[in-house]
C-alpha cells in the first residue's frame, strides 16, 4: 500500500463553514464516481483508494479556486491527475491481468459486501460472472479509450465534461469513444467476437 506523505495530514486552519459545506454538498457526493474512475484507470483496488483519498485532499485545498461549472468534471480532472502521478511513481508496475480464478474471488468478495437479499445464488453468480467479463473487457482496452468509455458510459458525463476532464477537444473525445466502443463490441457482443475469431483464424 502506498504511504501517503505525512504533510497531507498537517492540520490546516479550519476553512470557512460555507466553503466546507459547499465542498460537502458539491464534491463529496461524487466519491463513488471518483473511485470508479480511479479504479478503471489504475486497474488496482488498493491504489485506487489511495488515489481518491489524495485527490479529495487536493480538491479540498483547491476548492476556493473552483468557479462553478460541473463539480464532477472538476473533481474527476483532479482524480485523473492523481492517477497519473501515482502511476508514474510506481513505474514498472504492470496493469493487473485479471485471471478467472481471481475474478472468482472478487466476485465472492462482492457477494459478501452486499448483504441485501438478491435473486437465487445461480442468477447472482451468472450476473457476477457477466460483470467480471465486462469489467475485464474495459480494463483491457488502452487507456485513452478506456477513460473516455468510463466517463461516458459509466459516469454519464457529457462530451463537454469529458473534454474538460481529459483536456482534449470534443472531436477527440468523439473519436476515442467510437474506437473504444468498437473494441468493446468485439469483446462483448457474441456475433462480433465470433466474426473476429473467424477472420483471425482465416488469415
Amino acid at each position: 500500500m502506498k504511504v501517503i506523505a505525512p504533510s497531507l495530514f498537517t492540520p490546516k486552519r479550519p476553512a470557512g463553514a460555507v466553503q466546507m459545506q459547499q465542498f460537502h454538498a458539491l464534491i463529496l457526493p461524487h466519491l463513488d464516481g471518483a473511485y470508479n474512475l480511479a479504479r478503471y484507470l489504475t486497474c488496482d483496488a488498493t491504489l485506487a483508494e489511495d488515489v481518491v483519498q489524495d485527490a479529495m485532499v487536493r480538491a479540498f485545498r483547491a476548492f476556493p479556486q473552483f468557479r462553478g461549472g460541473s463539480p464532477r468534471a472538476w473533481l474527476f480532472a483532479i482524480v485523473r491527475n492523481c492517477c497519473r502521478t501515482a502511476q508514474a511513481s510506481s513505474a514498472g508496475r504492470v496493469a493487473l491481468v485479471i485471471h478467472e480464478s481471481s475474478l472468482g474471488e472478487e466476485a465472492a468478495a462482492q457477494l459478501n459486501d452486499h448483504a441485501d437479499p438478491r435473486p437465487t445464488p445461480e442468477e447472482e453468480a451468472m450476473r457476477q460472472a457477466d460483470v467480471g467479463l465486462v469489467r475485464a473487457a474495459i480494463e483491457a482496452i488502452p487507456e485513452p479509450f478506456r477513460e473516455a468509455i468510463v466517463l461516458r458510459e459509466l459516469e454519464e458525463l457529457s462530451y463537454a465534461e469529458i473534454a474538460e476532464v481529459t483536456g482534449v477537444p470534443i472531436g477527440t473525445v468523439m473519436s476515442r469513444l467510437a474506437r473504444g466502443r468498437a473494441m468493446l463490441a468485439k469483446e462483448l457482443l457474441p456475433q462480433d467476437k465470433a466474426a473476429d475469431e473467424q477472420s483471425r483464424s482465416a488469415s
Partner: protein
C-alpha cells in the same frame, strides 16, 4: 459489415444525445436508408447495455468512505454541529458512537444554527447554472400543482409580480435532512428562494448570514424561510407581501 466511415462519429453522437437537431435529422435519415449503419447503431446500443449492467461501475468501498470522512481537512469546523459529519459518514461508519453523541448534541438550540447555515448554502447552491428550478414558469397555477404528490404539504404560491417579485418557478430541496418546497421569486436581477416545510409554529426572526438576508416565519403549521442577497428590509417586505397575498 462496417458502418459508413463518415457516419461513425455521428452515430455515437446520436446515442449520446449530443447532436443538434439538424444533425439528428441528417443521421436519422441516413440510418433509415443504410442497413449497415442501422446494424452499427444496434451494436452501439448493445455495447452500452452490457456496460451498464449493474455492478460494472465500481462503488467506493466502505473503507474508503471512512478514510475520507476521517480526513482532518474535511472535519467540520469547531462551530459546526455534529449532524453534518453524521450525514457524510454515511450509514454504519462511526455508527452507534456518533449516534449517541448526536442524540445529546443535536437537540435545540444547536439545530437552529445548522438549519440557518443550510438555508444559506442551499440558496447559494441553487444559483449554480441549471439548479434553480425544476419547474420553470411564471404561472402560480403551474407551480402549486407541480408540488402535489412530491411533498405531503401544499405551500401557497401567490402571484407577486405586480409588487416587484415575479414568480420564477419551484423545485424540491433538502434542509436539515427534510424535503422542502423551494419557491423561487425574482427581485430585479436577484433571486429570492422561499423554503417551506411543515414545522411547529415558532417566532418570526430575521438575520443576515454570510451576507445573505434571511427572514423566517410560521403560518398554519408551515415554516417559511426567505433568503436572498437583496437588502434585509426588502426580504422583510417580501415576507409581508407574501403573507398578505397568501391569506
Amino acid at each position: 459489415m462496417p458502418a459508413c466511415a463518415d457516419q461513425e462519429l455521428l452515430l455515437g453522437g446520436l446515442i449520446d444525445n449530443e447532436l443538434d437537431a439538424a444533425n439528428v435529422a441528417l443521421v436519422e435519415a441516413h440510418v433509415a436508408r443504410c442497413e449497415d449503419c442501422r446494424e452499427e447503431l444496434e451494436r452501439l446500443q448493445a455495447v452500452r447495455h452490457r456496460l451498464r449492467t449493474d455492478g460494472v461501475r465500481h462503488v467506493a468501498p466502505e473503507s474508503l468512505s471512512s478514510r475520507i470522512a476521517a480526513l482532518p481537512e474535511l472535519a467540520p469546523p469547531r462551530s459546526a454541529n455534529d449532524n453534518r459529519i453524521l450525514r457524510w459518514l454515511g450509514p454504519g461508519v462511526i455508527g452507534a458512537l456518533a449516534a449517541s453523541v448526536a442524540m445529546v448534541t443535536l437537540l435545540p438550540p444547536g439545530t437552529d444554527s445548522v438549519v440557518d447555515q443550510e438555508i444559506v448554502s442551499s440558496h447559494v447552491r441553487s444559483l449554480q447554472p441549471g439548479h434553480l428550478t425544476d419547474v420553470q414558469t411564471t404561472n402560480q397555477h403551474i407551480v402549486k400543482p407541480w408540488f402535489n404528490g412530491k411533498i405531503d404539504f401544499s405551500p401557497p404560491v401567490p402571484e407577486l409580480a405586480d409588487v416587484g417579485f415575479p414568480l420564477a418557478g419551484g423545485r424540491l430541496d433538502s434542509i436539515g435532512g427534510k424535503t422542502v418546497a423551494a419557491i423561487v421569486y425574482h427581485r430585479r436581477l436577484h433571486t429570492v428562494n422561499l423554503y417551506v416545510w411543515p414545522a411547529k409554529d415558532s417566532a418570526e426572526r430575521s438575520f443576515v448570514k454570510d451576507g445573505f438576508a434571511v427572514t423566517e416565519w410560521s403560518r398554519n403549521g408551515l415554516r417559511y424561510a426567505a433568503v436572498s442577497d437583496i437588502p434585509p428590509a426588502e426580504v422583510r417586505q417580501f415576507h409581508q407581501l407574501f403573507e398578505q397575498r397568501s391569506s
